[in-house]
Amino acid sequence: MNLHSGWRKFLNAFMLGLTAIFAFATVSVLFLILGYLIYHGGKNVNWSFFTELPKPVGEQGGGMANAIVGTAKLLSVALLIGAPAGIFSGVYLSEFGGKAPNFFVRYMADLLNGVPSIVIGIFAYAIVVLPAGHFSTLAGGFALGVMMIPIILRSTEQFLKAVPRTLREGAMALGASKWRTILTVVVPAAASGIITGIMLALARIAGETAPLLFTAFSNRYSSPGFNEPIASLPVMIYTYAIGPYQDWHEQAWTAGLVLLGLVFVLNVATRLVFARKTAAAR
């Protein structure tokens, strides 16, 4: 009896310890990455990194202003494509679709979510780059936007479904049509959730490299407008990290740090929106 309970206590403690070790190992991986990035890239984070163009090979200094602006432009285009498509499909799934079409759309969205990003890049290459005859911001933004759609769709659907039926009935009982109800009551009630989904999708695609390689390509200079090849942080990291020069490697680390900072800001902003919303609902 005593032996038995002793064994049980030991097993309990052992399992607790084991799970804790793994949990902390996981967390420490993140801190390791962060520490490494700061160690290698931190010293080059300065004003000129954000404001200057890359220097020609052999010259020291220079920055990645073009890639930072490029990433911002690519994400904006992706947002303009991915958000409406995702939101409208999410509304369809949550509010209109019947069983069979919903199953179909949901299944296709899950499949799309699982398509490797490089395949989406090839797809964008075939339908945007080839007909246009050149790489462009639009093509890169399109590829990233397509990747956002399934993420936004599923989160929009979930947050809309969470809006209580009584709210919809309240609007309809006042004579609102279904569309009116969705537009003026249901979507606003789910707005912070939908925005959260969009920001998480943005954070998720901000670091994508593969789909940009044959769509946005890269550019040593600034890229005016949306119809020319454009530099982006992930592709810069890729190019600089495999380049043969020491100062390129350092700049790649810095770009990684900046990219991580961007994703971090998106994540924190998401939480803030959420926190404000939950506080308001109380």
Partner: protein, 279 residues
């Protein structure tokens, strides 16, 4: 016109026919009150399950009609048929005839119907908007954009909420207490000036003081509105209504003036229910 006072004032009462033939007659003066809703053979089913099995009932104008009956007997279903909210739930079939001022509601434009027949739900369901925008909602979707603030104030006054919220109309409706939210929902329904107000257990989540306020409100609203209220509270039905209908298992058992139903019910099942012996 005030139904309760009519019932009390008139001495020479003559019987008037209320609904089904085998349902007892009510003593009421002919011609002094008119039916607003005429409901005949109303059958409602959810999928294969029929929950109202042919209800006949006339709802009179400018009086308060209470619907009582055990849980699940179909009170909410009956109420929701009157403004066609049954259609919102998929797979619901409605049979029979409902006339509003002699016009078939199933042939009316549903938006117009719901504007004329407002509804307040069992649990307060304010929109996640400001107090002002909640009350103005019905007006806005009906295309009214002028003098909204007067209309909002007027409705809030009618719902006995104005004094509590007047300085803070732009606050979120979620910041109000449950009782205030329920009165906000009443104000929201009143803003479009409905002819009929349907209330589904509006006081079930409220304290006695707020409940008294709402009952007082019903009394005042009678002059401008016809009211149908579902309630589980026998005292409330007895206090606040002029007529009471007792539903049991999807059938109308008895429909009487409230005074008569609670003092001398003609069906033994009614008596059993109001004395708390079942349900």
């Amino acid at each position: 016109m005030n139904g309760a006072s009519i019932v009390q004032k008139h001495q020479n009462l003559e019987p008037v026919h209320l609904g089904q033939k085998d349902i007892p007659l009510v003593e009421l003066p002919i011609g002094t009150i008119k039916p607003q809703f005429k409901i005949s053979n109303l059958k409602v089913s959810y999928g294969a399950k029929e929950v109202l099995h042919g209800v006949d009932l006339d709802v009179f104008a400018n009086v308060v009609t209470a619907l009582i009956g055990p849980s699940g007997c179909g009170k909410s279903t009956f109420l929701r048929s009157l403004n066609r909210m049954t259609e919102v739930v998929r797979g619901t079939q409605v049979e029979g005839e409902i006339l509003l001022d002699n016009e078939n509601v199933f042939r009316m434009d549903v938006v117009k119907l719901r504007r004329r027949v407002g509804m307040v739900f069992q649990r307060p369901n304010p929109f996640p908007k400001s107090i002002f925008d909640n009350v103005a909602y019905g007006l806005r979707i009906n295309g009214h954009h002028d003098s909204l603030s007067e209309a909002v104030e007027h409705s809030l006054r009618r719902a006995a909420l104005w004094d509590e919220v007047k300085g803070q109309l732009h606050k979120s409706a979620y910041a109000l207490s449950g009782g205030q939210q329920q009165r906000l929902c009443i104000a929201r329904a009143l803003a479009v000036n409905p002819e009929v107000l349907l209330l589904d257990e509006p006081c079930s989540a409220l304290d006695p003081i707020t409940t008294a306020k709402i009952e007082e409100l019903l009394f005042q609203l009678k002059s401008s509105c016809t009211i149908v209220i579902v309630t589980h509270n026998m005292q409330q039905a007895a206090r606040a209504s002029d007529f009471t209908a007792f539903l049991l298992d999807g059938q109308l058992v008895e429909y009487q003036s409230t005074r008569k139903l609670f003092t001398t019910p003609s069906d033994p099942r009614t008596e059993a229910y109001i004395t708390g012996r079942f349900g």
